[in-house]
Symmetry: C2
Subunit: 189 residues, 2 copies
């Protein structure tokens, strides 16, 4: 690699910030270049085109996110404990990284991420999926299609974080616990 400060990272970071702030269509490549302190042409040294830049950014964020969420996850704990653990981690991650949340949101609601949605549920959500299945087997969780259960869990999450980030709502630790509890009430038998 070069001895220059890492331009690739600078470009990815600028892209994250700008897209979170202004959306895909509010961020021309020229603006990304400027914010990254880089020439326009340099972007194209590291990424084939804008689409690939965005997909790469997604992949890297997703990996970081996943690593964080499953941190300290222990298969042996009771279902409810594990449920709370995962929810807490997801909430904490997204609340601590509002830019990433906004980017991911935009990504999923765009032609970029349509196909990724399913993948998200199948791969990244795999341990979560297994957890719910086990909960059902133990008679703790309502017997519904997994997709519905996911909706009951992630729906409020997305909604509430959006409101938090836009200042409509101030989430603290206490409220967060009550929220997770309410989410459990929704899916528990």
């Amino acid at each position: 690699m070069s001895r220059q400060p890492d331009k690739r990272t600078a470009i990815l970071l600028a892209t994250l910030k700008l897209i979170a702030e202004r959306g895909f269509h509010g961020t021309p490549t020229s603006m990304i270049a400027e914010r990254a302190g880089v020439g326009v042409g340099t972007i194209y040294r590291y990424f084939k085109d804008k689409d690939q830049l965005i997909h790469t950014l997604y992949e890297e964020l997703e990996a970081k996110n996943k690593a964080f969420v499953y941190q300290g996850y222990e298969e042996e704990r009771p279902v409810l404990d594990r449920f709370q653990h995962l929810c807490r981690n997801i909430y904490r991650y997204l609340l601590a990284n509002p830019l990433e949340f906004r980017f991911l949101e935009q990504y999923f609601d765009s032609p970029y991420g349509v196909a990724k949605m399913r993948q998200k549920l199948d791969s990244a959500g795999e341990p979560f999926h297994a957890l719910l299945k086990e909960g059902k087997r133990q008679g703790l969780v309502k017997d519904m299609p997994p997709t519905l259960l996911f909706g009951l869990i992630f729906g409020p999450m997305i909604n509430v974080i959006k409101d938090h980030d836009s200042g409509l709502l101030k989430l603290d630790e206490v409220l967060l616990e009550r929220l997770i509890e309410a989410t459990w009430d929704a899916i528990k038998k």
Copy 2:
């Protein structure tokens, strides 16, 4: 007056369909004109610019939606009954009108609708708001900020309908009732 009294409607309908299918940035005015069977210039006879066209479309859909949702709403019924009634109506409306759902979703997640979000909660959601307040007073509903309660109700709704429309899930009347029940479990004390 006009030779074809329906051009305005044709333009609005074409816009709805195209934006639902292809997003804001996938639908140039030229395409709207073509789909509406109208010249490009005609759009600008009825609407100041593309933004106003989209805002107008939103306003008209919102009015239609609201009228449907509060149909048959009776203030005197018990809180739970009214809750179920409103949820059912919203679900039914959005499931019966997937194009409108997709359009509204895009609208809210874009610079167009940022300001509208609050309004949505304050005006269109007013009876809903009052209902939750009453539920709290009667000790039926969890004592949480209204924004959180809204999140617990509308979050799953949006998520689940999205999954239904994309074919990930088949919602029927039975499942719908169970879903509304689960939502109530989430917010009830």
